[in-house]
Symmetry: C2
Subunit: 325 residues, 2 copies
Amino acid sequence: MEIEIEKSLVIGLDLGGTNSVFGIVDQRGNIKSQTVISSTAYPDFDDYVKASVDALQPALDAVGGIQNVRAMGIGAPNSNYYNGCIENAANLVWSGVVPIAEKFSEALGIPCRVTNDANAAAMGEMTYGVARGMKNFIMITLGTGVGSGIVCDGKIVYGSDGYAGELGHVIMDRSENARDCGCGRKGCLETYTSATGVARTAREFLQRSTEESLLRNLDPEKITSFDVFQAVEKGDKIAAEIFEFTGTMLGRACADFTTFNSPEAFVFFGGLTKAGEYLMAPIRKAFDENVLRNYRGKVKLLTSSLNGSEAAILGASALGWEEGF
Amino acid sequence: MEIEIEKSLVIGLDLGGTNSVFGIVDQRGNIKSQTVISSTAYPDFDDYVKASVDALQPALDAVGGIQNVRAMGIGAPNSNYYNGCIENAANLVWSGVVPIAEKFSEALGIPCRVTNDANAAAMGEMTYGVARGMKNFIMITLGTGVGSGIVCDGKIVYGSDGYAGELGHVIMDRSENARDCGCGRKGCLETYTSATGVARTAREFLQRSTEESLLRNLDPEKITSFDVFQAVEKGDKIAAEIFEFTGTMLGRACADFTTFNSPEAFVFFGGLTKAGEYLMAPIRKAFDENVLRNYRGKVKLLTSSLNGSEAAILGASALGWEEGF
C-alpha cells in the first residue's frame, strides 16, 4: 500500500537588498525554521541559488525532505508574477532580467512563484492575517516607499504587465508646492505617507512653526519616522500634528481608492503603523469625510495582525498555497 | 434523431429612465430586432415585466422562439450584479429594491443578469468592440455623469458590494475652488468631464475672458456640450480650450487610474467623444505627462467602436455570453 504524501509545507523567501530570509511554513502560518543568507555575496545568480539550496538543506531534512514541500513563494523587489523574473532591480546585485522562479524551481524540484513585497504582504494577510476570508481588499505598505497589493474577487490584481498596484504613486497634490518624488514626478502619495515622507513632514512642520518640540533636539536632516513616533508617545504636540497630516493624506487617498474595487477593508502594514491611533484616528476621520456616500460605513480600516519580522516570509510563502498551482 | 438546439442568441435590455429597449443579438453582435416599451408606464413592476414579454413575443417568434435564446442581460441604473436587483434608483418609477433579474428569468424561462450602464458598456467593448481580446482595461463613459467599468483578468470588478467602479467620483481638485458635485462632495472628476461638466466649463471660460466666441450667442445657462462641439468644429478658440481643459482632467485622472490595474487600454464612450481629436489629443498629452514611468508607452487611449445607439443594447446583451452562466 502506497502512503500518500501530504505536501503540507511551503517555502517562503523574503528577498531583500541585504539579506535573503527563507522560512518553512505550515498551513496555519507557523514558521518551522528560518534560514538566512546574504543577498549581496553572490554576484552570479546561479551561485546564489546553489548557496540558498545548500543553506536550506538542514531545515528541509528536519521536516522530512523536499517531498513534504508543496511549492515555494518569493517576495522580491521589481519582480513580475507573470514571467517569474526579477526585472532591473536597482537595489539588488543582479542586473537585467533574472528568471528567479525558474531557477529555484529547477534547483528544488518544486513549483515556484515570485511577486513584489506589497503583493506578497496582501497574500499573507489573506492567507494568515486580518484579511482571511476577504475577497476584496487593499493592502497599503508604509515603508521607505508606499506600496500596495490590490485584491479583487480573491485574487491579486497584476494587470496587463504584472505591475499593477502602484497606489503609492497616485498624485495627491497637483499644486506648485507638491513634493518631488523619486519617480521623477511631483505630489505622489508616497512623498507624504512613507517613512521618509513622515520625516520630510517633520522637517517642514518644525521649520514653519516656533512651537516647542522634542524633535527640535535632533538634527533635522537625521529625523526619522521612529523619532516622531517616540516623540508622540511622550505627548509631543508637533509629532501628533505630523501623524495627523500623514493620516489625513492616507484617509483621503483611500477614499478615492475605494471607488475602484469597493473593498471590504484597507490593511495597513509597516513601521508607521506602530503609531496606532495617532495614525489610524486621522485616517478614519479623513476617510469618512471624503468617501462617496455609497461606501460609507462599509469599509474597515485595519492594521496588519502579522508579526512584522515574520510577515514578509509568510506573505511570500502564501503564494505557495495558490489554487491550481 | 434529436437535433441539438444551439442557443445562439441573447437578449439585451437597455433600461433607461424614459424607454426600455430590448434587442435580440447574435454572437457577432448583430442586433436582429429591437423592441421598445415605456419605462414609466408601469408603476407596478410585475406589469412592466408582463408588458415587456408581450412586446418581445413577435421578435422571439421571428427567431424561432425563446428556445434559441441562451440568456438575457440588462443594463440598468443602480443595479447590483450580485443580487440581480435594482436598488433605490432615483430616476426610475420603481422605488426600493426591485429583483429584476429574477422576475425576467421567471417570465422568460432563461437565465438573466443585470449590471449598471458603465459595466455593461465595458462588457460590450470586450465582447464586440475595441477591447476584444483584452483582459485588463478601463471603460470611461462620458454622459450626464461620468461612469466607469473596470476589467481585471477578463472580469468586471464588482467589489465587495457590487458597486465598484465609480471613478467619476475620484477627487481631482481639493482646493476651495473645486466644483460642487451632485454626490454632496467637491472636486469629483464628473464635475469637470461629464457633458454637464463641459457646459459648466464653458460658462466659466466665457465669464473669465473677453475673447470672441460663437458660444457668446447662446444663453449661458442653456449651453450644452453639443454646442461646444459645434463651435469647435467651426474653429472657435474658446471651445477648443474647453475641450483641452476637459481632456487634460481626463488624462491626469487616467494616469492615476493606471496605477490600479495597469490596463492595456482606456476606452472612452459617450457623446463627448464625438469631439474626436479636440478631446483625445489633450487626454493623450496629459496622460503621457502624468503617468508613472513603468507604464509609459504601454497604455492605449481609445474611443468606443460601437454605434452609439446600439452600444447600450450590445453591452447589456454581452452579459448573456458570460462563461459558466
